[in-house]
Symmetry: C2
Subunit: 140 residues, 2 copies
């Protein structure tokens, strides 16, 4: 591994997962890859998100492995965490707890179902950015 790429420890992965609240969920739908951006929260070692009834809900609950990604892109360093695991809908009683979490959807819409992903694999990378062309643009 080049010296400008470093693996994140499991603890660092969790730290980043707790800090962010927006990621992308990949799942299979009729055997094909699908991806969707979601708001999520970390709760008791799981990633919890709300969703409406629909193909996303059906697909993620079908028992297969889902994958989830977050990233944090800075000007010199970027980090990305990838989680794989199984998804299950929370029973109504437990789902109500989700309102106590930092589970704040960015869009107002009806999303009645609460799904929890239990990670089976987790990996993270932190890498130095090589974007020499950025120096010709004003920096943020």
């Amino acid at each position: 591994m080049p010296t400008d790429v470093a693996s994140l420890t499991r603890e660092e992965c969790w730290e980043l997962l707790k800090r962010e609240e927006f990621g992308r969920l990949a799942y299979t739908l009729d055997g094909e890859a699908a991806i969707v951006p979601i708001n999520y929260a970390v709760d008791d070692g799981r990633l919890v998100f709300r969703t409406a009834q629909g193909s996303k809900l059906s697909a993620v609950l079908r028992g297969g492995t889902v994958a989830f990604e977050i990233d944090d892109i800075g000007s010199e360093w970027a980090s990305s965490v990838i989680v794989r695991g199984s998804a299950a809908e929370l029973p109504e009683e437990e789902a109500r707890w989700a309102d106590q979490l930092r589970l704040r959807p960015w869009i107002r819409s009806e999303k009645q179902h609460v799904v929890a992903i239990t990670p089976s694999e987790m990996s993270g990378l932190r890498f130095r950015m090589h974007r020499p062309w950025m120096s010709i643009y004003p920096q943020d």
Copy 2:
């Protein structure tokens, strides 16, 4: 659809795809969902990225549909574009053209293979953010 969510036109999707250069690729690996962040460029109606030999390359070339997501998160509005399509490795001669593209990996590493995704479906959303809690933090 709530009034604070709007579909992007195909043209707006392409605009955003051309403006960004970092997205997430979802694919299936042994029937399970996988996701990976990638640098990409738009070339002649395709999304082109570099990759090393490995499971990602094998999986995306196995002929199935891959999915790709980019997003642009602002303080009041966010946009997300999702592309589905098939992936194919470019032949060596054509791959050399990739060096002429704005295909600038953010990490230095050996990525000899150039893959092009030809979109079969594309959709984009622009949504107003509802993050009242943001107002208690200093804004960027």
